[in-house]
């Protein structure tokens, strides 16, 4: 690999001078880097998603959320500065890996060294051999919040019956409900453009059930100070082709495995120190470590 540390500095100056460089696609200084280059440069470039609360969102110019805090803690452990960038999600994660870690985007934006919130999935890893996945750090699952005064409990889809469910369109929870039991729940679904909008509708009483990931539901209830006793959270067994549970971790470019290992070590240490739990609690989220932790 070529030594790019100085080139990166030069590029920064150029970027500051002209605001935007479009022609730099595939230029070496924009590449993702192994550990020694990150250490030599003194800066770790981390990509997190925008509009992905409680994990990451751009709040008045400062990225906020579990993934943002985790990125800060990882940089601290590696004793490097953090260059945290919020990226828009593309059509799928494969495309995000391509844009942010190995090929770059059409505008020639510099690549990130590490991307967080990447599902740890063997099939996904196999078809994306340009990247290497770190150990997972969080266990995601589809869950439901429901109004205790409306229903007894929710631990199977049948408990939903004909009730209205607020859900983000085209989310995992939506697809599970759309495909379950030959479409039995379709008529009761109330779709929203974002999870946040679905949560607001639930909190405003427009639907007695809110579907989403457990972390997002917990964070929404926490932020609204909605009592958990009145709004219990239930989960259901996996349905059909749609996954009800998946793990998330990080990813680096395939030639930067040593960086992935260093990141994994940092996360293990943060976990042992209780930092992961503390970060999650800031947002009202129960830390659910992947199995094996």
């Amino acid at each position: 690999m070529r030594n790019r540390a100085r080139a990166v500095q030069r590029r920064r100056v150029a970027l500051a001078a002209c605001g935007l460089i479009l022609a730099a696609r595939f230029q070496p200084e924009a590449a993702a880097r192994p550990l020694d280059q990150v250490m030599a440069d003194g800066t770790l470039r981390v990509a997190v998603y925008g509009d992905n609360a409680p994990f990451s969102e751009d709040e008045k110019g400062r990225p906020n959320g579990i993934d943002a805090d985790l990125a800060r803690a990882i940089a601290e452990k590696l004793k490097v500065k953090l260059d945290l960038r919020v990226v828009d999600a593309g059509e799928n994660v494969d495309g995000d890996l391509r844009l942010n870690l190995w090929r770059g985007d059409l505008a020639g934006t510099p690549l990130a060294d590490l991307m967080l919130h990447v599902p740890t999935d063997r099939q996904l890893a196999l078809r994306n051999d340009q990247v290497f996945f770190t150990a997972p750090y969080f266990d995601q699952e589809i869950a439901f919040a429901y109004r205790k005064d409306v229903m007894e409990g929710l631990d199977r889809l049948d408990d939903i019956g004909d009730r209205t469910v607020a859900v983000e369109g085209a989310s995992a929870a939506d697809l599970m409900l759309l495909t379950a039991q030959g479409g039995r729940f379709r008529a009761g679904l109330k779709h929203y453009k974002s999870f946040d909008a679905a949560a607001q509708a639930y909190l405003a009483g427009e639907a007695p059930i809110l579907a989403g990931t457990r972390a997002a539901i917990e964070a929404a209830l926490f932020a609204a100070k909605a009592p958990r006793d009145d709004n219990p959270i239930g989960t259901v067994p996996s349905q059909g082709l749609v996954k009800a549970r998946w793990e998330i971790g990080g990813a680096v470019k395939t030639d930067s495995r040593d960086l992935a290992y260093a990141v994994a070590d940092a996360i293990t240490a943060l976990n042992a120190e209780g930092r992961m739990k503390a970060i999650c609690e800031t947002y009202g989220v129960t830390y659910t470590p992947p199995k094996g932790y």
């Binding site: 994990f55 999600a89 799928n92 919130h117 996904l124 369109g169 697809l175 349905q239």
Partner: protein
């Protein structure tokens, strides 16, 4: 203002045109210039060589006997590293060529010498995510402005003399997945655009703005249940809620109108195509899902839908209905029918009555179509249920893929974006088509923004061993394929046809080719050094006939890969505009 444009529109239809050599008026491109574009070979002021987009030039100078003398006059480079993906059709007016480049650029070039007069580079934000390459398909001219859309979903009006920005408006938010690549059209002083974008929540719509100010006049969402807008107030609803969609799924029904439209001054209708419905799997949205995968005819004054025709009701194969609808007059049984022709993604060539959308005929224009057995007398597909991608609600959780089907054509379509042409001389349509199918299945190992997602998995496969591309001449009255030219690589360039009995198109292999319009015999070719994926034009200048085409390999084919990519391996990048002419000395021989 409105009175004046109405008046001009009425005059335009009746006006006689004295020929191509009218001296330029100070006010640039008028309403009449646009309406009469197909009859004035001295300029090309519209996308499609006329608002009907027949891509037919009345120029006869160049013909199969003298085309050997057609030689390059100059070549213009799109410069730098941004060469790929040149899909633009150029415009010519008063000795200036206006051509858009990939990465949202516009060039004004001296049409005699090929020298650059000015260049406009849109500043693209970091992190834009255009789905299908960095292309732009062309510009629109009106008065002293030249208009085009950018990859970050902005519409820009530039002064034709200086290239300076007159106005710039957001079509939508690029961060939400919107983009703009089509050529806008000008109708009665309004600039008409659709939207490009496939994210959740996107519903296709057609918009009209005052061309001089960029302010919105009307908006027409294409999916039922959504409210239109006229002069800042809600107008009428498109269709009726839940007529053809279950639950609230119409709210995010797709139908992106990403390819632009055509206009017929005779019926005073704008024709626009609409994209596929969402979510992709049809089993999740029982019903016809109107007006996805359709052609719509709109009143340009208020954006009301006059008629709609759905080519693929309840689409399950990603057959966008965006392909252009080309008005033409058809002689059938001794009568003249005001018809329109369109070559759909789904592999069928449709002829409709353009006044009311009534179905006239549909015939296959690619081979081995298997998603439908045919189209019935009412214009509805006779589906092959076994070739509809599987129902995920019936799939078993242990089933890794869900059921996979092989469907023809592939979702890239029997014909993709590249425009067809129609010759009133030969009475034939010229359709750049592709013979390919796809394996398609529900792919459970799919993630979006780090979360599980049930996407489509697909592999595109050629139907024949020796070719994918196929330029066909189709008789709209009989639906018969009159001649065919086969090309190894997929065809991705538009068509031009002339009164000199010629048909032009480009190939990914780098040739601009000319064919005998009646027989399909290849009569001329020229290698431009990179793939041609744009629409050629022709015009008359100083008594000589010129032909122009943008060159620069790119577009969606190289991005989708698979077996198809093998047919295009080794094609070099490049980015230029080529101008050819038939010198007077040769023409007079």
């Amino acid at each position: 203002m409105r009175m004046r444009t109405r008046f001009l529109g009425a005059v335009g239809i009746a006006a006689l045109v004295a020929g191509g050599a009218i001296p330029a008026l100070a006010e640039g491109v008028s309403e009449q210039d646009i309406i009469n574009d197909a009859k004035t070979p001295g300029d090309v002021v519209t996308y499609g060589l006329g608002p009907q987009a027949q891509r037919f030039s009345p120029l006869k100078t160049l013909n199969r006997d003298n085309i050997k003398g057609l030689v390059p006059a100059w070549s213009f480079s799109f410069g730098g590293e941004k060469q790929r993906g040149q899909e633009s059709q150029a415009l010519v007016k008063d000795g200036v060529i206006y051509v858009t480049g990939s990465y949202s650029r516009m060039y004004a070039i001296d049409s005699h010498t090929g020298e650059k007069k000015w260049e406009y580079d849109a500043r693209l934000p970091e992190g834009i995510l255009p789905c299908c390459d960095v292309v732009n398909r062309g510009a629109a001219l009106y008065k002293d402005n030249v208009y085009f859309g950018t990859l970050d979903a902005k519409l820009v009006a530039l002064n034709t003399k200086t290239g300076k920005v007159v106005w710039r408006k957001d079509i939508d938010d690029f961060k939400a997945g919107y983009s703009y690549t089509a050529a806008p059209i000008i109708v009665k002083g309004k600039i008409i655009t659709g939207v490009s974008g496939g994210e959740f929540g996107v519903v296709g719509r057609i918009e009209a703005r005052d061309a001089e100010t960029g302010e919105i006049v009307w908006k027409r969402p294409v999916i039922e249940g959504h409210m239109g807008e006229l002069n800042g107030k809600p107008s009428t609803m498109t269709g009726k809620v839940n007529e053809s969609w279950p639950g609230d799924m119409w709210k995010f029904g797709g139908g992106a109108t990403w390819l632009g439209g055509t206009y017929d001054p005779e019926t005073n209708l704008i024709y626009f195509g609409t994209g596929n419905p969402g979510p992709w799997n049809s089993w999740l949205r029982p019903g016809d899902n109107k007006w996805s995968a359709s052609r719509l005819a709109l009143n340009p004054d208020n954006g009301e839908i006059v008629w709609g025709f759905q080519t693929t009701p309840h689409d399950g194969w990603d057959f966008d209905g965006v392909n252009e609808f080309v008005p033409f007059d058809m002689q059938k049984d001794g009568k003249t029918v005001k018809a329109g022709g369109t070559a759909d993604r789904n592999g069928f060539f449709y002829v409709l009555d353009r006044t009311n959308g009534k179905f006239i005929s549909a015939t296959p224009f690619v081979e081995k179509i298997n998603w439908a057995k045919g189209i019935d007398k009412d214009g509805r597909p006779i589906y092959n249920p076994e070739n509809r991608p599987g129902d995920p609600s019936q799939a078993n959780a242990d089933d890794k893929k869900g059921k996979s089907v092989f469907a023809v054509p592939s979702f890239l379509g029997g014909k993709n974006w590249m425009p067809i042409g129609y010759s009133p001389d030969t009475k034939l349509f010229y359709v750049p088509s592709n013979e390919w199918g796809m394996d398609i299945w529900n792919e459970p190992v799919n993630y979006k923004k780090g979360a599980a997602y049930l996407g489509a998995g697909f592999t595109i496969k050629p139907v024949f061993d020796d070719h994918i591309g196929s330029l066909k001449a189709i008789d709209p009255a009989s639906g018969k394929v009159v001649w065919e030219y086969k090309n190894k690589a997929p065809l991705w360039a538009g068509v031009l046809t002339t009164a000199g009995n010629l048909v032009f198109t480009g190939t990914p292999e780098g040739f601009l080719k000319a064919f005998d319009a009646k027989t399909g015999e290849e009569v001329w070719k020229f290698q431009v050094g990179t793939g041609v994926v744009s629409s050629p034009i022709t015009w008359e200048q100083d008594g000589e006939q010129w032909v122009g085409v943008a060159a620069g390999w790119g577009g969606a084919v190289p991005l989708w890969g698979g077996e198809v990519a093998k047919s295009t391996a080794g094609i070099n990048q490049g980015g230029s505009f080529w101008a050819f002419k038939l010198p007077k000395t040769v023409a007079s021989r």
